[in-house]
Structure formats: structure tokens, C-alpha cells
């Protein structure tokens, strides 16, 4: 019990931050305290990681998953929180209802942390609903007022997703009478019901994040008209964490059923094709109201990330033995973490654009290379790293040799699906490399034609800190992955023994 209290100190601090951000109306003072609290949270969570990994602690009371894996995920969320606050300090200071904006950010962080902490499906659903609604609300904050009807489609998608989630919860209650993931996993569900529940949760979590039928169509306006801070929250924080939670749930429902995985695979593949097509048309053309908007390109690429991760994670249902499933599941988590870190690096490198101008058309931006060399270099590094995330963890050698050549040699159809997914993944990285190089060329090297903001804050040494932090995190991630090969499976409540039996 004492362990739970100490381990959840970051959550306690977040609560304090939430109450503080609502009540304090003095902008500078509030932001200072919030940044202080965020640093404290990051520090205590780092201590948690060190203590839990040194003494090999794991706490599963009250359906909490308090282990090193969860703390690692929190560490990334808290680091993102710090970066978001730093972003909002530049972009969102002086807006109307600024305290509500800050409080909604903290509420989103709190909900995501809570959803990743528990293995009670009811609590996860509540937190995710709070996150979706908060995402809809934070869009409207900014220096310009926006009409409510702008996000009509987005809110319809949220309502639909809430209906799916509530239906899923009630179905689980009537059939299984338990909301705990491990108990649901051990319950022998009829395959049809299993498919129905997994689809309900897939659509419930996935529709606002860009899976079909809505795909990216409800998010285009969101990306185009939101501020960089809001865009950062939705693309780099919310989508990857929701992706992680979705993977955790699908692992519960579709673990042994190939048919479920096949349907998820098809849904993810169609979503991926649509989002990639739209991100490419946005980068190269002006058809269908596209405007070379860097915000939209970033947003749409995050949708393709979501679908890509779903595609990779759905393959777990086809794998024949438990040990391969564990190894593969672990790889999926590593992939999610890599994607989060590298996408943050890419996004943060565009901070000069946010500071210099309100324009987001890549064709009129340019010339940042002369003034912001380090940001330009880190953008390039991000692009290169994104194309070879496997190199970070020796993944390519391990997985290809273990999974695709040795164990699946007798199962040609599964081997075929596996190799198709890998081919799509490589194709996807090539696409990303294309848009990274195009945007780099336009923004950092091209000739500037944009309207400059009135008071541009000069870049300080503190602005480079997040770049260094992200690189340090990446190194930490690799070290942990090397020394604790099942680190990411600990995030799930399934301890290795439970998982293998």
C-alpha cells in the first residue's frame, strides 16, 4: 500500500497542477508553477524507474500496473507535458480563458496517465472519453475565435466513438461480468462475441484517431486551424498513447483469433492508404482544398502512424507460439516508443516556424537554415532516424532471423502476411522520407516569402534543451531495451508467466 502511495506521487502532483491551473489567473505566475510541478513530476517518476528497476518491484493492487514499463511510458508523457507547457508559453500566452486551456492540457495528461496505469476497462474508457472531449475543446482556444460548427464532423466522430465504447462496456458486463483485463482474457468468449467486442473497442478508440470510416476527413479542419501547441498535443501525445491502450485491449480480445486480426489488419491497411494519399496530396498539390500546410502534413502523417502501428500490432494474432508473440509484442511497444520520440524531434524542430510567422504554407516559408541551424539539423536527424528506427535496437536482425525465417518457415500464409506488412512498413518509411526531405527543402532552405510576426522572441539556450532531452530518452530507451528485453510487456498487466500460459 505504501508502495502505491509513493509510486503515484506524480499523479498526486498532476492533480495539484490541475487545480492550480484552473484557479490562478495570473498567466506568468501560473505557468512558472506549472513548469515547476512538471519538473518535479519528471524527477519523481525518474526516481520511480530507478527504484523499481533496481529492486525489481511490481505492484498490481487495485488493478494498477505499477512497474518499470508503465513508469517508462509515464516518463515520456511527463516529458511531453513539459514540452507542451514550453510551447504554450510562447504561443498561448495572453489568450482568453488561458487558465482553462492549461487546465485542459493537465486534464488530458492526467487522463492518459490514468488510462495507462489501470487494467480496469471501465476506468480506461472514462479517461479516454475525457481525453477526446478535451481535445475537441482545446481546439477553440487561441488568439482568433473559431465558430463551433468548424469541428462538427470531429464531434460527430467523438459521439460515435463514445457510443461504441459504452456499448462495448455494457456487452462485457452482460457477458463476462468483470471489467478487469486479465479476467476478461481468461474468460472463454465465443469467437463471434469476441470479434464484436474487439471491433466495438477498435472503433471506439480508433475513430477519433483516424481509422476508417471517418479516416482523416474529420481531422483535416482540426489540423489546419489549430495552433501548434494543440497540434502537438493531439498528434504527438494523444494518438500514440491511445494507440498503446488500443493495442493493450486488442491483445486481450484478439489474442488467439486470426480472423479478428485479419479484419483489424484490413481496417488499418485501408486507413493507412487514405492517410498516406492525403499527406502526399497535401505535400505536392493544391487539389481538394489542400494548401501545402505544414500543420496538415504533420497531422496526416500522425494518422498514418496510428494506422501503421495498428497494422503491425494486428499481426500478433497470427503468430503461432507464445514466445514469438511476446517477442513481437515487445517489438511493437518499442516501435511505438521510437515513433513517439522521433515525431517529437521532428515537430519540435519546427518551433522556429511557430515563433516567426502565422503562415503555415511550406511554399512561402523558407530561410530558416541561416538563423536556426541546430533546428534544421535536428529535423534532418529526425527524418533519418524515422527511416531506420530498427537500427536503434538491433531489431531488424533479431526479428527477421527469429520470427520470419526460423519459426514461420512451415506456415507460408502467415509468413506471406508478415512479409507483406514489412514491405508496407518499408514503403511507409520511404514516403515519410519523401515528405521530410520536401518540407526540409521548403522550410529550411527555400526562399522566405512569409509575413513575419511583430515581436519574435530570440532563441535561447533553453530552447535546445528538449532536443537534448529527446536524444537522451532515445539512448535510455535503447539501454533499457537491451538489458530488459521484456520491458514493454511489463506495461501490460500480463506478467510473462501469465502471458505464456
Amino acid at each position: 500500500m505504501i508502495g502505491i502511495l509513493i509510486a503515484t506521487i506524480p499523479l498526486y502532483c498532476l492533480l495539484i497542477g490541475l487545480f492550480w491551473s484552473i484557479s490562478c489567473s495570473k498567466s506568468t505566475f501560473r505557468k512558472k508553477i506549472l513548469i515547476l510541478i512538471s519538473i518535479l513530476i519528471l524527477f519523481t517518476n525518474t526516481l520511480n524507474i530507478i527504484i523499481f528497476s533496481l529492486f525489481d518491484f511490481q505492484i498490481y493492487d487495485f488493478n494498477f500496473n505499477l512497474n518499470v514499463g508503465t513508469f517508462f511510458l509515464w516518463e515520456i508523457i511527463f516529458a511531453l507535458n513539459l514540452i507542451i507547457l514550453y510551447f504554450s508559453k510562447d504561443e498561448m500566452t495572453g489568450i482568453l480563458n488561458e487558465n482553462l486551456y492549461d487546465s485542459l492540457i493537465i486534464l488530458i495528461i492526467f487522463s492518459l496517465v490514468g488510462a495507462s496505469l489501470t487494467s480496469n476497462i471501465l476506468i480506461i474508457v472514462i479517461f479516454v472519453i475525457i481525453v477526446f472531449i478535451s481535445l475537441g475543446l482545446i481546439f477553440y482556444f487561441g488568439i482568433y475565435s473559431k465558430p463551433f460548427k468548424l469541428l462538427r464532423l470531429f464531434f460527430i466522430s467523438i459521439i460515435l466513438s463514445i457510443i461504441f465504447l459504452i456499448l462495448g462496456v455494457f456487452l462485457i458486463y452482460f457477458i463476462i461480468d468483470s471489467f478487469i483485463l486479465t479476467e476478461i482474457k481468461n474468460f472463454e468468449l465465443n469467437p463471434g462475441l469476441n470479434l464484436l467486442i474487439s471491433l466495438l473497442f477498435l472503433f471506439g478508440f480508433g475513430i477519433p484517431c483516424g481509422i476508417i470510416p471517418f479516416s482523416i476527413f474529420h481531422l483535416k479542419v482540426y489540423y489546419h486551424d489549430s495552433t501548434y501547441t494543440t497540434l502537438f498535443i493531439i498528434t504527438n501525445l494523444t494518438f500514440p498513447i491511445i494507440n498503446f491502450i488500443l493495442f493493450k485491449l486488442l491483445l486481450t480480445f484478439t489474442y488467439d483469433l486470426g480472423i479478428n486480426s485479419l479484419i483489424i489488419l484490413i481496417i488499418a491497411a485501408v486507413g493507412l492508404i487514405i492517410s498516406i494519399t492525403y499527406s502526399l496530396t497535401e505535400t505536392f498539390t493544391t487539389i481538394d482544398g489542400n494548401s501545402f500546410s505544414i500543420k496538415k502534413i504533420l497531422g496526416l502523417s500522425s494518422n498514418s502512424d496510428f494506422n501503421m502501428i495498428l497494422l503491425i500490432s494486428a499481426f500478433i494474432g497470427f503468430l503461432p507460439t507464445e514466445s514469438i508473440k511476446i517477442e513481437y509484442g515487445n517489438f511493437v511497444f518499442f516501435f511505438i516508443f521510437c515513433m513517439i520520440l522521433i515525431k517529437i524531434l521532428l515537430f519540435y524542430s519546427l518551433k522556429p516556424v511557430m515563433l516567426e510567422t502565422l503562415d503555415d504554407n511550406i511554399k512561402i516559408l523558407g530561410g530558416f537554415w541561416q538563423k536556426y541551424k541546430i533546428f534544421g539539423i535536428s529535423y534532418l536527424i529526425g527524418g533519418i532516424l524515422l527511416t531506420i528506427p530498427f537500427a536503434l535496437g538491433n531489431i531488424l536482425i533479431n526479428l527477421i532471423s527469429n520470427i520470419f525465417t526460423e519459426s514461420l518457415i512451415d506456415l507460408p500464409h502467415i509468413s506471406f502476411i508478415g512479409f507483406t506488412i514489412w514491405a508496407i512498413l518499408i514503403f511507409y518509411f520511404i514516403i515519410i522520407l519523401i515528405w521530410v526531405s520536401i518540407t526540409f527543402n521548403d522550410i529550411f532552405i527555400g526562399t522566405p516569402k512569409y509575413l513575419k510576426n511583430k515581436d519574435i522572441r530570440p532563441i535561447t539556450k533553453l530552447d535546445y534543451l528538449p532536443l537534448i532531452l529527446i536524444i537522451i530518452f532515445s539512448i535510455f530507451l535503447c539501454i533499457f531495451y537491451f538489458f530488459n528485453s521484456l520491458l514493454f510487456m511489463e506495461i501490460l498487466n500480463f506478467s510473462t508467466e501469465q502471458f505464456t500460459h
Partner: protein
Amino acid sequence: MFVILLSIFGIGLLVIIIICYKISKKGDKDILTSLIILIGFIGIEIFIENTIIQLLFFVCIIILIIYIVFFFFIPRLFYIKEQFLFTEIKSEVWEDLKMDSTIVEKQQKD
């Protein structure tokens, strides 16, 4: 040890909530209260083991979220003139909000 730690945490949180109430504006107090209730409900939900009660709390929380969004956030976000759907914003709260908006407008003009 556990009880001591829990009471320290509880008292600490209570003190902070009281301070927050003291310094917050009238419009923000409502949001603060509703969020405290919401988090309290979620906290209770975590510690309950009976599935029926869990489900009941789930329904309550969903209703509470809808209430908070429609009655507190949307009127504040779109500063709807004095009246919104079914509720009327108290005049003193409205004065507070109007003051905020004029300050921001001035800043934007500058």
C-alpha cells in the same frame, strides 16, 4: 505508516484545494468544484469491486462529463451572451468574464 502517509497526502490536497478556492475567480470556482467531484467519482470507481456499482458510477461520470462540458466549458469558450441553452450565467460571473475579454482585446489591439 500507511495511515500517516495517507493523511499527509489528504491534508496536503485539502489545503491546496482551499488555497485554490480562495484565489480563483467566481466562474472558475464552478469548474474547479465540478472537476473535483469528477475526479472523486473516478477515485471511488477505482476502489469499488462490485461490478453493478461500478457500472452505475460509470453512468454518473458520463452524465457529469456532459454536464461540465455543456454548462461550464462551452459557455466560457464561446462567451455566449448571458444565456446558454438551459442555463443562465450569473451576472457577477458574466461581469468577470467580460472584463477578461476586454483586457485581451486591448492586448490584441496593442
